[in-house]
Amino acid sequence: MLEPKTTPAQAPASTKRGPRVIRRGGREHTVLLGIGAVLAVLVILWGGQLDPFNQGQLTRVAIFAIAIVGLNIATGYIGLLSVGHSAFFGLGAYTTGVLVVKYEWDPLMTIPAALVVCLVVGLLVGLPALRIRGLYLAMVTLAFGVAFPEIVAHFDDLTGGAEGMTIRRQQLRPPEWSGFTLGERSQWVYWLCVVVLLIVMWIAHNMVRGRYGMAMIAVRENEIAAASSGINIAVMKVTAFGVSGAVTGVAGSLFAMYIGSLFAEGSFTLLAGITLLIGLVIGGEATRSGPLVGALAVVFVPYYAAELGQGQVAAVLFAVVLIFVIFVAPAGIVGGIAKAVRKVVVVTPRIPRKPEGTQQS
C-alpha cells in the first residue's frame, strides 16, 4: 500500500539465485545443528585424551573464552568499552586463591564466590555509567585495570603481594566423585573448564537471543529510542557491567585452579585486559561464538609466533594478525564468516503467529 513493493506476503522460500533459505527449527536446521553438536563433542573428547601440554593449551582456550564471553556482554552487546577487564579476571583468581589457601575452601565452592565478588565489584565499577557517558566509563575501567596489581601488592598478607601466591597441589586435588586422581589433575581442570564454558555460552545465548539481549543492543544502537521504548538505560548498563564482570571473574577463578600460582604483575595487568579486548575484536564483537574463536587466537597466535622468533616478534605478529583481521573482516572472524555464509544460506526465524483461538482486538 505505502510501499511500491509487489512481492506477496508469503514469498516462496527459495528464489532464483538468492541464498538458500532455511527455517529455524525446521528439519534442515535441526540436522545442521546436530552435525555441529556432534563435531563439538568430538573435539571436546579429543581434547580430553591429549597429552598434558596440549590439553593445557585447550584449557587455557576455554578459560579465555569464558573471560571474553564476559567482556562481550559489556563491550560487544551494550557498547561499554572496558579496557580493564583483567581486573575482574584477577579478582576472580585471587578470590579463589585466598579462599583455598587461607580459608581452606573446596576449590569448586570458590567459583560461585568469585562470581558474587566480581558481580558486586562490577556493579560498583559500572555505577558511573548511571551518570556519565561515552569514554568516561572506559577511563574508569582503565584505572581499575591499572590499580588492580597495586591493590594486590597492598594487601600482601592476604595475597602474597609481589612474591605471588601459590596454591599447593594437594589443595587442588580433584574431588572424590570426579574419579580423577591427583596425578590426573590437568584432565580434571580441562573437563571443569569445558563444562563451565558450555554453561556460560548457554547462558549468554539465552540472554542474547532473548528480548533482554535485544534491549541491550537497542541501548547500544540508539539510546534515545531505547529510552523512549521504556528501557531504563542506566539500570541496564550497570546490570550488564556487573554480569560481565561476574562471568570474567569465573574465568579468573578457573585460571587460578589451572595455573596454581598467582602473580598479579604477570597475569592480571592492563596488558591482559587489552589481550581480552583483542580476542573479542578478532573473534567478533556481539557474536555468540566470537569469544571462543578469539580465545583460540589469544592462546595460539602468541604460541606459534614465539616459535618463529623471540620476544618482540610475538607481539608484532599478534599486532599484524589483529590488523589483518580488522582489515579483512571488520566484524571479526565470526562476523566475517557469518556474512559470507549468508550469501549462500540464510536462516530465517519461524513466523511468529498467535496460537488459534487467542486472537484479540
Binding site: E3, A11, N206, R211, I224, A227, S229, S361
Partner: protein, 252 residues
C-alpha cells in the same frame, strides 16, 4: 487528555518554545503545524523528557510528565516517532518492533539468562503481536531484514509499528509522511484513522503536508517562534491570517 501550558525552552540565544500551550483531548487527532524551526520537534522532546523545559507544565491525564524520566513516559501511555528516525539498525524490523513492547512486557535478567519457559512464552506472545502489526502495516516481507538500508518511508512505518505495540493512549507523530509520494500520503492518512479506530488513541501529528493534516485532524494548532498562533478546527486555522503570515513571512 494532554495539557501543555506555558512551556519555555531556550538554546543559548534561541527561544525554541516561548510559552506554548494547548490541549489534546482523548481520542482526537490534533494536527500541529508551523514553519521550519517553529519549535514542533522541541515540543515533542519536552513532552517525552528528552529536553527539560525551563518553565511551564505538561500534564497527561493528571500526571505531571515533567516529573518523570524518559523511560517512564511510555508507561504512562505516550509514545512517539522521530522526525529523522531513531531505529536500531542491526536489529530486524520484527525485533525493532518487539523492543517497543519493553514497557508492557519487561524481560527480566535472571529468567532471561536461564531461558525460563515464561520468558520464552512472553517472547512468543510479543512476537506474535508484533507480527500482526507488521501485517497491518504491510511490513511482513521485510520482517527479518535488518533496519539498516531500508528506505526512509519504510522505516517511518517501522517506527509506527514499534510505537503501536505498546498500545499507547497518546501517539506523537513527527512528520510521518516524510519520504512518501503523493498517493502514499493519502493512504497514510487513512491508515492513521483506521489505526485510531482499532486501537483507540489520541494523536499529536506534526506534518508539513497540509492536505494530510487538514484531512484527518479533528483539531489543529499552529505554532511560530515557539508560540501558539492559532488553535481551532482545521477550517478555522486555515483561514487564520496569522497562520498565512507565518508561512508567507518565512518563504517570501
Amino acid at each position: 487528555m494532554l495539557e501543555i501550558s506555558d512551556l519555555v525552552m531556550r538554546f543559548g540565544g534561541v527561544t525554541a518554545l516561548d510559552r506554548v500551550g494547548f490541549t489534546v483531548a482523548d481520542n482526537e487527532i490534533c494536527g500541529l503545524i508551523g514553519p521550519n524551526g517553529a519549535g514542533k520537534t522541541s515540543l515533542f522532546n519536552c513532552i517525552t523528557r528528552i529536553y527539560r523545559p525551563e518553565e511551564g507544565a505538561v500534564r497527561f491525564n493528571g500526571t505531571d510528565l515533567l516529573s518523570l524520566r524518559r523511560h517512564q513516559i511510555v508507561r504512562h501511555g505516550i509514545v512517539r516517532t522521530f522526525q529523522n528516525l531513531a531505529l536500531f539498525p542491526t536489529l530486524s524490523v520484527l525485533d525493532n518492533t518487539v523492543v517497543g513492547a519493553h514497557s508492557t512486557s519487561t524481560p527480566h535478567l535472571v529468567p532471561s539468562l536461564l531461558g525460563w519457559p515464561t520468558t520464552r512464552a512472553a517472547r512468543r506472545r510479543v512476537e506474535a503481536d508484533a507480527w500482526e502489526l507488521l501485517e497491518r502495516l504491510e511490513l511482513t516481507d521485510l520482517a527479518f531484514h535488518p533496519a539498516a538500508g531500508l528506505p526512509f518511508g519504510t522505516l517511518k512505518r517501522v517506527e509506527l509499528a514499534r510505537a503501536l505495540i505498546s498500545r499507547p493512549s497518546l501517539l506523537l507523530l513527527d512528520e510521518p509522511a516524510g519520504g512518501l509520494t503523493h498517493s502514499e500520503v493519502n493512504e497514510l492518512g487513512q491508515l492513521i484513522l483506521g489505526l485510531r479506530d482499532d486501537y483507540g488513541f489520541s494523536a499529536l501529528l506534526v506534518e508539513h503536508h497540509m492536505g494530510l493534516v487538514m484531512g484527518i485532524s479533528d483539531h489543529v494548532v499552529a505554532m511560530d517562534f515557539g508560540r501558539t498562533i492559532a488553535d481551532g478546527s482545521p477550517a478555522e486555522v486555515q483561514r487564520d491570517p496569522a497562520v498565512a503570515e507565518a508561512y508567507l513571512g518565512r518563504t517570501a
